[in-house]
Amino acid sequence: MNPKLTRRRFIKGVIASGAAATSTTIWYAANGAAKPPGAVERLIRINVNGQARSVDVASQETLASTLRYKLGLTGTKLGCNRGECGACTVLVNDVPSYACSVLTHSVKNMRVETVEGLESANGDLHPVQQAFVDELSPQCGYCTPGQVMSAVGLLRSNPNPTREEARQGMAGNICRCGSYDSYLNGVMRAAQIG
């Protein structure tokens, strides 16, 4: 592979992407126009676990990236970074979403909840967390924060699910250890004690 390539035109601008980043702003600048409505500012406030946090967020940054690298909330895991596993599930306005596949800028006016925000002020576990402990739902634990958040989201919208409803609701989370059954036991238990 030849370094000259970077100057040749390819059918996809794979390499040019770094340079392309500023091209639209340049376009507007060159045309003497102010940035159009809708252009994003980097410094934003986001509401995470009930706290408003000021963060410098690049326009393309994913929520998982902001949570993990800017806010130190490493409970949100990057199992695949492609929306294919669920380990990064967080709640956005109570709705389970893959943090790896949501832009931070898209949720800046919404409530974001992560696994770190569930315990009560006195340190008591959330009913879902307690039920997962009681049922020994986690195995390796890497998917657990995502499973917890999906379960919390599910129980907020449906506090008394049937086991089948729980199964459908939890379906967007992979557990490679195969602890699905134990997680469902946990969800059903949490529904009882919650």
Partner: protein
């Protein structure tokens, strides 16, 4: 602009030729337009000095046999279809072009093969031979050509080269797609495939230029009688004697 070749990465991530840069289509279009416009303007400026147009009345001689005229128009139609269908997706027109394209391509191949065979055995092949003497023709107003003028011979042979190139590369590319006759094999290495696309593209560009030039001249008033002869087969004796050396070309009289 400024690039002739487009590149892509092959399956291994290495650079290979993808094909011609279609920006060249615009370059060609503009260049041809400019050149032809210039020609038209110059011709218009020189128009008064021109002799009177020879009369199309009177005795008629045969210039093109029916079969050759048929060949010409089939070839012209297939080339225009090939250009139109080939260029449409480049211009962003959403038509199902590929089947028409290869069918037209097969037709073109068929008639070209027919023409080659016919010209070698049944036509006066020599009348189209472009020899060193012919190059003096444009510069010597006293010198008249045989059946075909220098320009006509030049156009013919340029088209021959380009059409053969487009046919050969086209057939090779044709073999890379699914057709009713075979399933594609992906057997051509990607770099060679890209080269074929490049040559096909370059010959297409040349063909576009040649076709535009050819059509332009065919529509020029002083050449229009040739165009008519390609439709109806004949030119008048006046037209013949004004433009051709009858010692070199003595056609039979038209019916």
């Amino acid at each position: 602009m400024g690039e002739i070749v487009r590149y892509k990465r092959d399956v291994w991530g290495e650079e290979v030729i993808l094909g011609v840069s279609w920006d060249l289509l615009w370059v060609v279009a503009v260049a041809v337009l400019v050149l032809l416009a210039a020609h038209a303007i110059i011709m218009a400026a020189l128009a008064n000095k021109k002799m009177d147009k020879p009369s199309s009345e009177g005795r008629r001689v045969v210039r093109h046999e029916t079969i050759d005229r048929l060949f010409h128009w089939v070839m012209a139609a297939s080339i225009l279809i090939l250009i139109a269908t080939g260029v449409a997706p480049i211009l962003g027109l959403r038509i199902a072009w590929l089947n028409i394209h290869w069918i037209a391509g097969l037709l073109l191949t068929f008639v070209v093969v027919f023409h080659i065979i016919r010209s070698l055995f049944w036509q006066d092949f020599k009348s189209m031979v472009l020899g060193p003497k012919d190059f003096g023709e444009p510069f010597d107003s006293a010198k008249k050509p045989g059946k075909y003028t220098f320009e006509q011979k030049g156009m013919h042979w340029a088209v021959t080269v380009v059409v053969l190139a487009v046919i050969v590369t086209g057939i090779l590319l044709f073999m890379q797609i699914d057709t009713p006759f075979w399933d594609r094999t992906n057997s051509m290495p990607e770099d060679r495939l890209g080269l074929m696309f490049l040559l096909h593209g370059l010959s297409t560009l040349a063909l576009v230029a040649l076709a535009a030039t050819h059509i332009y001249f065919a529509l020029r008033p002083e050449k229009l009688f040739y165009t008519r002869s390609m439709v109806s087969g004949w030119i008048s004796e006046d037209e013949m004697t004004a433009n051709h050396d009858t010692s070199l070309w003595s056609p039979k009289e038209a019916d």
